[in-house]
Amino acid sequence: EKTDFKVCWSIYVGWMPWGYLQDSGIMKKWADKYGISVDIVQINDYVESINQYTAGEYDGCSMTNMDALSIPAGGGVDTTALIVGDYSNGNDGIILKDKKTLADIKGQKVNLVELSVSHYLLARALETVSMSEKDITVVNTSDADMIAAYATPDVTAVVTWNPLLSEIVAQDNATEVFNSSGIPGEIIDIMMVNTETLKDNPNFGKALVGAWYELMGIMSSDSEEGKKARTAMAEASGTDLAGYDAQLSTTKMFFTPADAVTFTAAAELPKTMKFVAEFLFDKGILGEGAPSPEFVGVSFPDGSIYGDKNNVKLRFDTTYMKMAADGGL
């Protein structure tokens, strides 16, 4: 039982509301309501934010479904998907220089952040043209340097996400040959929280969810207030309102809790997680001792479980989002 909580987030279109929640005082309002305090901390380096959460420094952290499985869940930290915020619907893409179709990628060096969702996207895309990673060479490239990397002659193919993606696509010689709208609902951005902490402190979950959906309501409206919120988020991410709206357009935000609940409870999610688990296992990052992709168990809202039932470390749970949908907060 505790009263002070810390969650962390990093700069990404679907997570910018977290920063605004803190700055605008909405979070404080909701925390006060439940008699707790919640500190929302921005961490520039995405991987570092997950590492910190995994190490136990934070009670929650925004991350993708894939990274949740590989880092905290794979590291034995029981983690619950509290708020399923959005999925990438074109926010991640594959770009070829001076080539027009995905099949042309054969034999090229592909620059991407290895073992990230970009890597996953590439693997899924290659399947659609009956290729595998053997047909290309992956070059691990830091996201911060992706744009500059693309500007060099030796880089001919990149996989990345927004806002880097739209910066690169804007160049004359760039063609986006595949993007995450081709695998809708597979790259999901989620606020993950520590299962144990959540179990012991339901108020923590309630405050976060309540605050989040209040802001979703504001943000999705075309009102002055909504614009103001989006402008602030745009600037915090280093762009302007138009740029930020463009990024939002390729992100399937769940502005209402009901949408999020529907998506999380749908039958596609277990399939997606199976893809992801197999991808991670194939890359050898489920841990040294992982004998199969089913090593880490994942539970779903309907009670079904993928993988090892005795080692469930990642839980998709709609309880709190449902409370929000039902107006119960």
């Binding site: 962390c8 901390v41 570092e48 910190q52 911060a144 744009i147 280093g238």
Partner: protein, 273 residues
């Protein structure tokens, strides 16, 4: 007359010194010009005018969102961290350096460890630093300390060991205790070397400051560069880099002047760069 015997006049020297800077600016302007001929929206090498106007607005136009002057805020935050980091490193260097240089038992026990420790690239153990020190200001300061202190400790210790043994013996015959020797003999004699060590340590300190701010921070010069880097906003990055270089240069000169003023007995004779 051989070229090594010819010394340029003061005016020639200044002109010669400006030459490479001018060459850099001109070649940048040309490269930028041709890139923008190809693609007028090129972001990589913005024109000098663009950079100037961006810099101007970051420096003198209050940010719409927060009402702050971004450059000022970033600079103050970064300088604060740099100062805290280098200050802490200096203190550590002073205490450990004197102990290691002066007391053989401490030297035996700590010198090998610090020598090894100074070889660890700090960025590789960042996650551990962040876990131990959190992600707040402390961890940024600690990263600077970890990156600069070992080398500074080493050079202070070496400076202590370079104090002629004769002076230590002399102090003993004058009845000084170890503590008195430390405060009256060792400390004042190594202070100028400490300043040299700080000046040398500032180069990595800036690098670690920028790295730390790029990982976890919401303000500072490194944060700003990190933030706009994903949009390849070189019109912000390049002026920031120049600004950082200028700050670093000014701090370096300031320390040199302080040293010359405070320790006239140390700066006698000998050309230095």
């Amino acid at each position: 007359m051989r070229i090594i015997n010819r010394t340029p006049s003061r005016r020639t020297a200044v002109l010669l010194g400006l030459l490479p800077f001018a060459a850099l600016i001109v070649s940048y302007a040309i490269a930028s010009h041709y890139r923008r001929l190809d693609n007028p929206a090129d972001k990589l090498l913005p024109s000098l005018g663009d950079m100037a106007s961006t810099f101007w607005s970051m420096a003198f136009v209050a940010d719409k969102r927060s009402g702050d002057y971004l450059l000022l805020g970033d600079t103050l935050d970064s300088l604060w961290r740099l100062g805290a980091g280098v200050g802490t490193a200096t203190l550590i260097a002073l205490v450990l350096g004197i102990a290691i240089g002066f007391i053989p038992h401490i030297r035996s026990s700590l010198a090998p460890f610090i020598a090894s420790f100074s070889l660890i690239p700090p960025i590789t153990i960042l996650p551990i630093l962040f876990i131990i020190f959190g992600l707040g200001e402390v961890s940024k300061v600690v990263l600077i300390v970890v990156g600069t202190a070992p080398v500074m400790v080493r050079s202070v210790a070496q400076a202590v060991m370079n104090i002629p043994r004769e002076l230590i013996i002399k102090a003993e015959t004058l009845g000084a205790s170890v503590w008195q020797m430390t405060t009256r003999l060792v400390l004042p004699q190594i202070l100028p070397h400490l300043i040299t060590a700080i000046r040398l340590g500032l180069v990595p300190a800036w690098i670690f400051l920028i790295s730390a701010e790029a990982i976890a921070s919401t303000s500072g010069l490194g944060y700003r560069i990190f933030l706009v880097r994903r949009y390849l906003a070189m019109d912000v990055i390049l002026p920031y880099v120049i600004w950082i270089t200028l700050l670093a240069y000014l701090i370096d000169r300031l320390l040199l002047i302080v040293s010359r003023r405070a320790f006239p007995w140390h700066h006698a004779g000998g050309n230095s760069l």
